[in-house]
Amino acid sequence: MMTVPNEPKIRLEHVGKMFDSFVALDDLSLDIRPGEFLAIVGPSGSGKTTVLNMLAGLDRQSSGTILLDGKPIAGPGPDRGVMFQDYALFPWQTVRGNVGFGLTHGPAGAGLDRAAREARVARVIDLVNLGGAEERYPHQLSGGMRQRVALGRLIANEPEVLLMDEPLAALDAQTRLVLQDEILRIWRQDQPAAERRTVVFITHGIDEAVYLADRVVVLGSRPGRLKAIVDVDLPRPRNEATRATAAFADLSRSIWELIRDEAIRATVE
């Protein structure tokens, strides 16, 4: 992208969020590098989704600043694509219509003629393995296919930053593994870092975070706050063999140690 190296793509400075008198997030400072795959994990109540909504511009922080390429975030914009937890697909649009929605009706398609837009939609549908399902409506799709549509809609707009809120939470374990690899492929993990987009990936799956991310941000709960940032120095490209390594297991375990007590408390409350 057009960013100066070493400048963060996104910078959060002492960001806090209150809902009435409830503190959802307390004093979070964090730099997100361009081309980085950043995962955020934490128990429920740690403000993960709040962080993502603020990055998307759907929520405003109560204190602190959030900078995108050095400029404060004022609202939602096509430079940051969001994949919502429950996908938020348009039920009246087919797979093709959903994937192409931003291109057809939003600024992402400006400067593209109809043929170019259609070509890109077709390419994206191919990329997320939805060939043959183009004319189906969301309610006619399985959970995994809906998730692919949401992913396709996200990348078709080619945003510089991809924000994903527990995108795989609703899927069964097997589909989740397959789609993790697909997300890595679309992020271009086999390309040099300069070719990649910036991803912020919210999850409650520690294994998932370790497998996907360059760094894992661990949040604590009540109030949500930064607990640790864990560097994941596993080599790329990662694949099934990665999960079997001792380093993978060690990282997962150390992150689990960080949030175990709160996670258990969260299930009891």
Partner: protein, 253 residues
């Protein structure tokens, strides 16, 4: 198979009903009080042949279409504005809540004074009856549009009129269609009353006219026509719904 079976059951029920009616009419023995189904069938045939049935039905139907079209063209935009904007809601809510409970039918005497007897009276009454279900249903539908869909379109830079056209309107369409069906049903009820009192033509007028002529079989023929048209308009709206919303085919309750 199920369809054929359903048709058989339908015919059987209606046959039993007709038989019971026939028996009762023999018992009553007065074609003024309770004509037999055969006499009514004959009246249907006669009114159909001399064109009275279809002419009056056509007039009522035309008035319905006109009134509902005007109501839809005014109420749906107003409902969208009220659903989207607090300022519009504040401005119109009280007026709507004041006028809505006053049934369209209750406007008939005043409308008689304003419009006199003629086509404008039933059209106004039907418009009024259709307007409020539409405005309230549209506003509620727009307010209930899934906030995530609005957020999703905002993150794709889709805003303003484009968002209304491509997100708000389709998302509220199921609610709008439901209120349209309610509006048409309310209009149908109103047309009979309005024409009965204040129009020189139409189904309501015909019913009252033949009643005063003591032609009970013809009265019944016209009542049946109202039922048939009411059923057909609703079926038509359901077909329109299915066409406009193919995506809702399997999820509609």
């Amino acid at each position: 198979m199920a369809r054929v079976g359903g048709l058989l059951v339908y015919l059987r029920t209606m046959a039993i009903f007709a038989l019971a009616w026939y028996g009762l009419s023999l018992l009553v023995g007065s074609r003024l009080l309770l004509p037999s189904p055969l006499l009514v069938l004959d009246a249907v045939r006669q009114s159909a042949l001399d064109g009275e049935l279809l002419r009056n039905a056509g007039i009522s139907l035309l008035r319905l279409v006109l009134a509902v079209a005007v109501a839809a063209l005014t109420a749906i935009p107003l409902g969208i504005a009220m659903g989207l904007s607090r300022a519009w809601r504040d401005a119109f809510d009280l007026l709507v809540e004041m006028l809505r409970p006053v049934a369209g039918i209750a406007w008939i005497p005043l409308a008689l004074f304003i419009f006199g007897i003629g086509s404008r009276l039933p059209i106004f009454i039907m418009f009024y009856s259709a307007f409020f279900p539409l405005v309230i249903g549209t506003a509620a539908g727009v307010r209930n549009v899934d906030a995530r869909l609005l957020a999703a379109s905002a993150t794709m830079g889709v805003t303003g009129v484009t968002r209304i056209r491509h997100v708000v309107l389709p998302a509220a369409l199921p609610a709008i269609m439901v209120s349209l069906r309610l509006a048409v049903a309310a209009s149908w009820t109103a047309v009979v009353a309005a024409e009965l009192v204040g129009a020189p033509s139409g189904l309501g007028y015909a019913i009252e006219y033949y009643r005063s002529m003591l032609a009970t079989p013809t009265v019944m023929a016209f009542i049946a026509m109202i039922g048939v048209l009411g059923f057909l308009t609703d079926a038509g709206l359901r077909a329109l719904e299915a066409r406009l919303m193919p995506w809702a085919k399997d999820i509609r309750p």
